[in-house]
């Protein structure tokens, strides 16, 4: 083995482990989608990070913080791992962040375990990820976290029979299991569980099947974009609302596609952790700054996940510089006021304990835009999908 290379690698590894001693710039590698069908997520992460930096400066605890963005283009664990290696070895980053899709996050687990790099997940919502390494922290939510309170709330509202209709893939099935377990525990009845192929473009058959069973409500989970668009359109056109079949969802009315749904979305009920219309000073400051920096930007789960993730990184840098284990220790039970409301890190699951709000889609009188209007907090919970 070439001695020169060995020396260079040793230097690289040394920075990873104890860079704080002499480095005054802390680097954060952000692995996200900046191309492909999900490019909007990367854009939103970046906008939110820049908003945070604009509000709080580019320094924390005396260290400069620099963000390096890498495009992973979608669910692509091979590339995600390669990019993480490049960031850790060549760019010598001290923190990793981003990660929209579960496989991308999972692929990083063995790496960050070895390099002791705190990694803040902005989205990837499968409970099991955080079990793969103690260096994962998550500022999004898990499907259990929002589906379970929704089931409880729905039962209390007098919705006693429900049909679940979810996209037939991991997250959809998680949502179905979470909802069903909680709803039946309450005493409600899930009449039918429909799993819709991901490639579905015409949802009429599924909507008709829901309709023919005349439940009090339909719990839906679909990936964002075209499937959600098609499902909510179909729900509306086939007059389910008129027949008293209440729509119960989670992320379906998220802000980046909400305007595209049009008036058909009005009245849809969802349980979720963040609404752009959340009424608080922190959120007002966040959305205002976001709008100033990038014209036409909307705030949604991706923005708030990245914003809070950046906050977490700032706090870690402040407390521990580049010392990974110490940094995790420092923020494991951190509490702060997020644009989504008060939040708290759960030391066991390293996922946020946060409010779950029940919201209805309304047209805002002032702006004329569709918004998720929060009607109340239905639970303050951590990751309910965690199993020991």
């Amino acid at each position: 083995m070439n001695n020169l290379v060995r020396a260079a690698l040793a230097a690289a590894m040394a920075t990873l482990c104890a860079g704080a001693c002499w480095a005054d710039t802390i680097k954060v590698g952000v692995i996200a989608e900046f191309s492909g069908p999900f490019a909007i997520y990367g854009k939103q992460y970046k906008e939110a990070i820049e908003t945070y930096v604009a509000q709080h400066g580019s320094q924390s605890g005396g260290h400069d913080i620099e963000f390096i963005y890498k495009d992973v283009g979608g669910a692509n664990p091979d590339l995600a791992k390669t990019l993480a290696q490049e960031l850790l070895i060549r760019d010598r980053v001290n923190y990793l962040a981003g990660l929209t899709f579960t496989p991308n996050a999972l692929a990083l687990a063995p790496l960050i375990e070895q390099s002791e790099t705190p990694t803040v997940i902005f989205n990837a919502a499968t409970s099991a990820i955080n079990k793969q390494s103690p260096y994962f922290l998550r500022t999004s939510y898990t499907l259990w976290q929002v589906s379970t309170p929704l089931a409880d709330w729905a039962y209390d509202q007098g919705i006693h029979t429900v049909v679940t209709a979810v996209s037939d893939y991991g997250p959809g099935i998680d949502a179905e299991n979470a909802f069903k377990a909680a709803f039946e525990k309450k005493g409600g009845k899930v009449i039918d569980t429909i799993r819709m192929p991901l490639a579905t473009t015409d949802f009429t058959p599924f909507i008709q099947r829901v309709r023919s069973q005349a439940p009090n409500g339909v719990f839906a989970f679909l990936p964002g974009g075209p499937p959600t668009f098609g499902f909510t359109k179909s729900y509306n056109e086939n007059g389910l609302a008129k027949e008293g079949i209440r729509f119960l969802g989670t992320a379906e009315t998220e802000e980046s596609n909400l305007q595209a749904l049009g008036d058909a979305a009005i009245g849809l009920t969802t349980a979720f952790h963040y609404s752009e219309a959340h009424d608080s000073d922190v959120n007002a400051a966040f959305t205002k700054k976001l709008g100033e920096l990038s014209a036409g930007a909307v705030a949604n789960w991706a923005s708030v996940g990245a914003y809070d993730g950046t906050h977490l990184i700032y706090k870690m840098v402040e407390a521990a510089g580049a010392d990974g284990p110490k940094a995790i220790e420092a923020v494991k039970s951190l509490k702060w006021e997020s644009p989504r409301g008060p939040v708290e890190m759960d030391p066991k699951t390293r996922t946020l304990i946060q409010n779950v709000y029940i919201r209805d889609v309304e047209r805002d009188k002032d702006s004329g835009r569709l918004v998720n209007r929060e009607k109340g907090v239905i639970a303050t919970v951590g990751d309910l999908g965690w199993t020991d």
Binding site: D202, G225, P226
Partner: protein, 286 residues
């Protein structure tokens, strides 16, 4: 009984949407024999233009749709003169590559101009209503699509099977040099047909947007769907595409009513079976 009626109604309505979104491809690929993977790109152009004209310029749906289709045809005309003319004579693989290249460029263009979120095309009020069929309701826009499909297939039948233009086109596709020797202006015939195909793609993109919403990635997301309709129908046959669209629409709808869990596998297995038994499609010509 009501199940069968539901399957029939939804299947035909969905089949008509499949027909509308893939008819442009039947023209460019089926009649002109270009493996035109950029079909979705023209649908995207039409849809994105309609979105921009309605949402940003405030035009009515009808005016915007008409303008968007014309704009798409104009771009298609330029593209035909500059690029497609050179593609006709290439091997199928080269055609696949060249049209994928064009698709990439259009995706990047739309993303650059309008971003990568959904581009809604709001329908006029009269298309947003529901129509009561007695045993159930059907959205008005699906009836409109069925109507548009009927008009398009009648129009194409008259243009291609019955008119002088159609005779020339078929002659030009079958044998360029002889057709040219007979005094047929091949360039003009091909340019006109290509623009027709692109215009139909834009129309399909706009009318189908309620089910297949427009966004920058539209051409790649639905490419396989378009190709299936045309290949099952058979190259060179408008009627074949029509029948294939209806059959696939009914098949998919039935599988979703009856065996939703295995709908996707059943659908593709059926497509494979048809292509294995009839490699040239239902009504394909040699």
């Amino acid at each position: 009984m009501s199940l069968i009626l539901n399957i029939a109604v939804d299947g035909i309505a969905y089949g008509m949407i499949l027909f509308m979104i893939s008819i442009g491809l039947s023209v460019t690929m089926g009649l002109m024999r270009v493996i035109n993977l950029a079909h979705g790109a023209f649908a995207l152009l039409g849809g994105a233009a309609a979105h921009a004209l309605i949402a940003r310029a405030g035009l009515s749906f009808m005016a915007a749709a008409l303008l968007a289709i014309m704009a798409t045809m104009a771009i298609a005309f330029l593209l035909e003169r500059l690029v497609y003319r050179r593609i006709y004579g290439l091997g199928e693989l080269q055609q696949v590559l060249a049209t994928i290249g064009i698709t990439f460029i259009f995706i990047a263009l739309v993303n650059r101009l309008l971003g990568s979120s959904l581009l809604a095309i709001p329908l006029p009020d009269f298309l947003q209503q529901s129509v009561d069929l007695g045993f159930r309701v059907l959205p008005a826009h699906r009836l409109a699509v069925i109507l548009a499909g009927a008009v398009v297939i009648a129009g194409l039948y008259l243009t291609i099977e019955r008119s002088r233009f159609g005779t020339r086109l078929r002659a030009a596709v079958d044998n360029r040099s002889i057709a040219s020797a007979l005094g047929i202006n091949i360039d003009a015939v091909f340019a006109a047909t290509f623009c027709l195909g692109a215009g139909l793609a834009a129309l399909g993109g706009i009318l189908g947007a309620e089910l297949l919403p427009i966004d920058a990635y539209y051409p790649l997301r639905y490419m396989v769907l378009f190709l299936i309709v045309v290949s099952v129908g058979g190259m060179g046959s408008i009627t074949g595409s029509f029948m294939a669209a209806l059959a696939l629409g009914i098949l998919e709808t039935a599988s979703r009513y009856l065996i939703p869990d295995f709908g996707t596998i059943v659908f593709f297995a059926a497509v494979m079976a048809v292509l294995a038994i009839r490699p040239r499609g239902l009504l394909g010509k040699a």
